[in-house]
Amino acid sequence: MEFEKPWTEKYRPQKLDDIVGRDPIIRRLKSYVDKKSMPHLLFAGPPGVGKTTAAIALAKEIFGDYWKQNFQETNASDERGINVVREKIKDFARTKPIGGDFKIIFLDESDALTSDAQNALRRTMEVYTSTCRFILSCNYSSRIIDPIQSRCAIFRFGPLSTDAVKIMIKKIAEAEKIDLKEDGLNAIAYVSEGDMRKAINALQASSGIGDSITESLVYQVTSRAKPEEIKNMMKVALSGDFLSARKILQSLLLEQGLSGEDIIMQMHRETFNLEVSDKEKVRIVDMIGEADFRLVQGANEFIQLEYLLANLSSG
């Protein structure tokens, strides 16, 4: 059957060397490939920063043709009980590796495992260590019990740099023969917040609507306002010029088609860059939060945001 993959899969790096923006980590992982040996690993970091990609690429390079037989991927957030560890994981750990000294169990989102399950896991890790290594990935390493952290080499994956996101997006755009404009590329990098999955999905979504990818198309697709305009709107309001701020709001909501939630999200971000006192910032955060809540409850975006701007002006 003919099909089209999501580009996150189509362009997922297959080799460690193809992973962008992770040089120090990749260097270490490659030393494991050279030695054909590795300790248990814990990859910690937010979504979309290369944890799964690194794990799969590492397995492919260590095991070569036998990687599928020697690599098991389990997602802990979908199966989180102690019985997963006592049955499924133990069963795989128990069987002999094929064509090598050990096999790898990749346990994604392992911070979703209950602490009972983690406690069972810690011993499984040690008992089968001669035939089996674990790569645990997690968003928050504090949710991994100390004894497991103690048994692992820990790698921190921070959000990807803007440059790394841009390199990858450019590469995909070339391969897909997409007309990607410079401002479109910058916009994708901005909205991605260092999350490659988000960036690639934004590119693929944009290409589904328009023939050339521009800043406004990207913002339309990801529906997030340009940061300068929101900051400007807040500054104007704080200067006491409510009417001008209101005009900017109208343009954002009605002409540019942004949603109230998007504007609120940006306003919150910009609050900490404003040149007002810390106490004032606290007040503003509280007001924005109140407006956000009312919007979520189904209040009128325009009236609520206007009220918020009026509050800023009278501060």
């Binding site: 996150t8 008992v127 820990i154 999905n201 609507i209 939060g289």
Partner: protein
């Protein structure tokens, strides 16, 4: 792995804890006079299990081991441990029973385990040794029937000494300063330190230890709290970005400690902000709109900081007395779950992460052919396509059938089955319907764009 290669083979090789060796030897040599079981408790990597293994080896005991990866309910304990414990020692065959991680025999899966263990301890004919990370998580009844030995965190210089020995034996190039930092950041966990050394390779440069060394302890929250109550700045919120506590848990930490740090007017103002933060948390939970957590975090950290006096003084912080775990939100409709499972399977991610593909997929659905191609990849059925895009699903289904037809065209002359013909007339009908809609296609595209985007 270095941890295994350099596992101690005799008492003399065990680092730290030497003073305790005497106690333990005395207990085992006079076994039967005193408590029949020994509980060793202490932090990870302080050498508890190592000690027991070396002990049994040096004294020539058989070691019977049961740990948390085994099922430890009443039946299993009686079968394995009970048997060993009650069988009397024959001449020359001495046994030690090791029950690792005794703080981890738990309610549901290990039903009756704790009770069975107590009976076994009281009646055992052989020495039983239990290990635990936390004294408090072993039930009092069991503690009362054990001789207690506490293993302290190893000192950094002790860890350093062992690392140095290993580095020399393995010819790892590393300077003392870096080794000391690896030792320090292990917080007295020798196993962690050796693992860190192991994972850094044969040539370690200054600063490399930062790559592997980060292990969370409760320390970071204490540091952040100290800054919160003394700095009088909204920027304190940033100190909590790395604390890795969910805001509802963090709120309890702050609620617990604020009265220790503030009084009078500042306390009142701080409490007002904490209650505001709590309102935001509740709103977030009730509406399941967790993006609102950020306001709660800002108010409870930066906000509480700003109302303070900004005086620096020593405050002894403590963890919250209780922490209620969030009841996890109930699962979404079955159909959505299946869709997310299909996406997750193909994209190596959980259902939660799979959600982030939905906006992209729904945009591709605006173009029937692209929609059909991506649906084929995820193996969505008609119902699922309809769930994602109620408006365009027919077009996508049609495009999908077209895709199927293409290679079949060559075989058209061969054996046309009756049912197939029936189906194909149906298809033609839907083709008609779609053609009628065609002139409006462009406008419609503009309209449903927003709709599908915000559906998720």
């Amino acid at each position: 792995m270095l941890v295994e290669k350099y596992f101690p083979k005799s008492f003399s090789e065990i680092k730290g804890q030497q003073a305790l060796v005497k106690d333990i030897l005395a207990w085992i040599n006079t076994w039967g006079n005193e408590k029949r079981a020994l509980l060793i408790y202490g932090p990870p990597g302080s050498g508890k299990t190592t000690m027991v293994k070396v002990l049994s080896k040096e004294l020539g005991y058989d070691l019977i081991e049961l740990n948390a990866s085994d099922k430890r309910d009443q039946e299993a304990l009686n079968r394995i441990v009970g048997n060993a414990a009650s069988s009397k020692t024959l001449f020359g065959y001495k046994k030690i029973i090791l029950l690792d991680e005794a703080d981890n025999i738990h309610g549901k899966e290990d039903y009756g385990g704790a009770k069975a263990l107590l009976e076994i301890i009281k009646n055992t004919q052989n020495p039983i040794i239990l290990t635990a990370n936390s004294y408090w998580e072993v039930s009092q009844a069991i503690r009362d029937n054990c001789k207690l030995v506490q293993f302290k965190r190893l000192q950094a210089r002790t860890v350093f000494a062992r690392l140095k020995e290993i580095a020399q034996a393995e010819e790892i190039k590393v300077d003392d300063e870096t080794l000391m930092r690896i030792a320090e950041q292990s917080s007295g966990d020798l196993r962690a330190a050796i693992n860190d050394l192991d994972s850094l390779g044969n040539k370690i440069e200054k600063g490399d230890e930062k790559i592997v060394g980060y292990r969370d302890t409760e320390k970071s929250i204490f540091d952040a709290l100290a800054k919160l109550y003394t700095s009088k700045s909204i920027d304190v919120r940033k100190e909590f970005f790395d604390v890795d506590k969910k805001p509802d848990e963090l709120l309890l930490w702050i609620e617990e400690n604020t009265p220790k740090a503030y009084n009078g007017k500042e306390l009142l103002e701080a409490e007002a902000l904490i209650s505001r933060a709590d309102i935001y948390l509740n709103r977030a939970f009730n509406t399941r709109n967790y993006s609102m957590w950020k306001y709660a975090s800002d108010l409870m950290t930066g906000g509480v900081s700003v109302v303070g006096k900004g005086e620096s003084r020593y405050i002894s912080f403590s963890p919250p007395r209780y922490f209620q775990v969030l009841g996890s939100s109930k699962s979404n409709r079955e159909k959505r779950k299946i869709i997310l499972e299909k996406i997750g399977k193909k994209c190596h991610c959980s259902k939660k992460v799979a959600r982030s593909y939905l906006p992209m997929i729904s945009i591709l659905f605006l173009n029937p052919k692209k929609g059909a191609l991506i649906s084929n990849f995820f193996e969505f059925d008609l119902e699922e396509i309809k769930f994602i895009d109620e408006k365009n699903y027919k077009k996508i289904e049609f495009a999908r059938e077209e895709l199927l037809k293409e290679p079949e065209k060559k075989e058209e002359n061969e054996v046309p089955i009756v049912e197939f013909k029936k189906e194909s007339t149906k298809k033609d009908k839907s083709f008609e319907e779609i053609k009628e809609e065609d002139p409006n296609k462009k406008e419609e595209k503009q309209n449903c764009q927003q709709k599908t985007l915000f559906d998720f």
